[in-house]
């Protein structure tokens, strides 16, 4: 075996590390490139704003876009207040004892449960047991439990980043604990909470497994009327047209994938801009 000098071996190792890094970031660039290149051609106003026709092989994806929007809105309405309150409890009220440790373990465990198990649970409890049927509300409830640990963790980090001296100054003036949280801590933590919420929205928009049997429908000929309707969503629609329908024209699948991708990435970028903007205007 040849022994390299330490300097040469450092250069050699750096090269390998660099190649590995390239390998790690190539897939995401390739995936985005392929989808944009093949999907661009079908994107026009009609594709965005019309119903699917001819057994999905023609027409647009309007109901899937609307469905995704509705289910994501319902989910965030359910999960954000609950998650935020849980974060407030953990960060502002809970003491560092066994009880807080159990809650942390609960959050950790909830975050690790596979999405399909959430789907199974949601199907069993919301669709079957509570008889909500396959509906927007059953899907949104399932998704909101799934997203809860993420919201709690990001909100908690945001609350935690507000300097402790802010609270002490407020208490010293005789302001109660809740009033301090409401008027001092929350406004200062808001940007961080918002960033977390927006990133969650992006994640929920792309989820398929939890709504597979709680909310999603193969095809609905009209837009959803109420939260008890079944609904078409973009990720599920993409799954259906790429696996279940024979002779599906490829460009429509790519177009659907592109819309889903652009939607999710655009939402993520909003979150990143919110973070950058507020980081510049922070009071501490």
């Amino acid at each position: 075996m040849i022994r390299l000098s330490p300097k040469l071996s450092q250069k050699f190792s750096y090269l390998i590390l660099f190649l590995a890094t390239t390998l790690a970031i190539t897939p995401v660039i390739v995936i985005i490139f392929i989808i944009v290149k093949n999907g661009m051609s079908v994107i026009n106003w009609e594709f965005l704003a019309s119903m699917p026709k001819n057994g999905m092989r023609d027409g647009g994806v309007l109901p899937a876009i609307v469905g995704t929007f509705v289910i994501v809105t319902c989910t965030i309405i359910l999960t954000l207040p609950t998650g935020l309150c849980a974060a407030i409890y953990l960060n502002e009220y809970a003491r560092d004892n066994i009880f807080a440790r159990v809650i942390k373990l609960g959050i950790l465990n909830l975050a690790g449960v596979p999405s399909v198990v959430y789907g199974l649970f949601g199907f069993g409890i919301f669709v079957m047991f509570l008889k909500l049927g396959v509906s927007i509300i059953a899907g949104a409830l399932t998704l909101s439990i799934m997203e809860l640990p993420v919201i709690i963790t990001t909100s908690r980090n945001a609350l935690n980043s507000v300097p402790y001296s802010f609270r002490e100054a407020s208490w010293a003036l005789g302001v109660s604990r809740w009033q301090t949280i409401r008027h001092i801590v929350l406004p200062n933590a808001l940007p961080g909470i918002m960033t977390g919420a927006v990133l969650s929205i992006a994640r929920i928009s792309g989820e398929t497994a939890p709504i597979l049997f709680t909310a999603a429908a193969f095809y609905v000929p009209h837009l959803p009327h109420s939260i008890f309707d079944q609904v078409m969503t973009l990720p599920y629609h993409l799954y259906i047209i790429s696996t279940q329908i024979p002779n599906m024209p490829n460009n429509i699948i790519f177009g659907t994938a592109l819309i889903l991708l652009v939607m999710v990435l655009a939402i993520s970028f909003v979150a990143i801009f919110v973070r950058i903007y507020f980081r510049k205007h922070r009071k501490w």
Binding site: A20, C85, Y89, A94, P114, V117, L148, T208
Partner: protein, 289 residues
């Protein structure tokens, strides 16, 4: 008045605070009860070790051994690909790259998380599966290997981000000590930084495994869904997640098949619980250095 409002709000906040624990208990008991009823009629040993998953035949068989092998094979393959690349990437990002390059690389790695799993599955179907078929000259490209490759991409962001945190939390005194003794930067990384960050890197790997084993859509789309026990990684497999996702819609509520799927859910729940729990122990160890 203000006091009453405060008390009510604080009660609500407390309730939300324990919500996550309530949901974990709820999910567990729900899965457990269905499974308990199932195991009264079907032996748990036959369930785990049975080679055949024939839920629809007259004498229904609910053996998940082939599914366990399928999940295990795909996960193992994904780890073999993702772990070395991710650790090297984490080292490059935290120790070699300049600050500006670091931020760009980090965002690119994290961008992968944002891509929905159906999109990844679709690209796998269109691009990877035909390639695998041609390259290895096998009858179908829908194999455990294809699943492993795509899932490796999905696990990388998790492993890179958490390993990078661990590498960065290595005290600077350790590094300067090594450098002062005449070690090169690379020798310091190799012998000091990696060793000190090991608990964090192990935790990162485990969390990556947790993500891969629970992944559903990508796996359904590109691993072929055949519940025969595979002889190699280049054969179609079926995972536990895929069975739940593809069959729950066809079952009759309360039937044996229905309960069997909840039992698979329980197995998945317990596996991921264990993985996350142990990963957390390693992360705590990393923190208490």
């Amino acid at each position: 008045m203000r006091k009453i409002v405060d008390t009510i709000i604080e009660k609500i906040i407390f309730l939300c605070g324990i919500s996550s624990v309530i949901f974990v208990i709820l999910i567990f008991s729900f899965l457990f009860i269905e499974s308990f009823v199932f195991f009264k009629d079907f032996s748990i040993i036959k369930f785990i070790t049975g080679r055949y998953w024939y839920p629809d035949s007259k004498l229904a068989l609910f053996g998940i051994f082939s599914l366990l092998v399928g999940s295990f094979l795909v996960t193992l393959g994904a780890c073999l690909i993702a772990v070395p690349i991710s650790i090297m990437t984490a080292l490059y990002i935290s120790e070699v790259a300049s600050k500006n390059v670091r931020d760009i690389l980090k965002s690119l790695v994290e961008l992968m998380v944002a891509i929905p799993s159906v999109v990844i599955g679709f690209i796998g179907m269109i691009v990877l599966v035909p390639c695998v078929k041609k390259l290895f000259n096998i009858p179908t490209g829908l194999t455990a290997f294809s699943g492993s490759v795509m899932l490796a991409f999905m696990a990388m962001p998790t492993i890179v981000t958490i390993s990078e945190d661990a590498i960065r939390s290595v005290p600077w005194q350790y590094k300067e000590g090594a450098l002062a003794l005449g070690a090169t930067k690379w020798q310091t990384m190799r012998w000091i930084v990696l060793k000190t960050a090991r608990p964090g890197i192990i935790a990162a790997t485990m969390l990556g495994i947790g993500r891969v084993i629970g992944e559903t859509m990508t796996v359904i789309m590109i691993t072929g869904n055949s519940s025969r026990i595979p002889h190699s990684i280049f054969e179609p497999v079926r995972t536990m997640t895929a069975v739940i996702a593809t069959e729950i819609g066809e079952t009759v509520n309360g039937s044996m098949h229905y309960k069997a799927l909840f039992s698979i859910g329980l197995v998945l729940f317990l596996i991921t619980f264990l993985i996350n729990f142990v990963a957390d122990l390693f992360l705590e160890k990393n923190k208490n250095k």
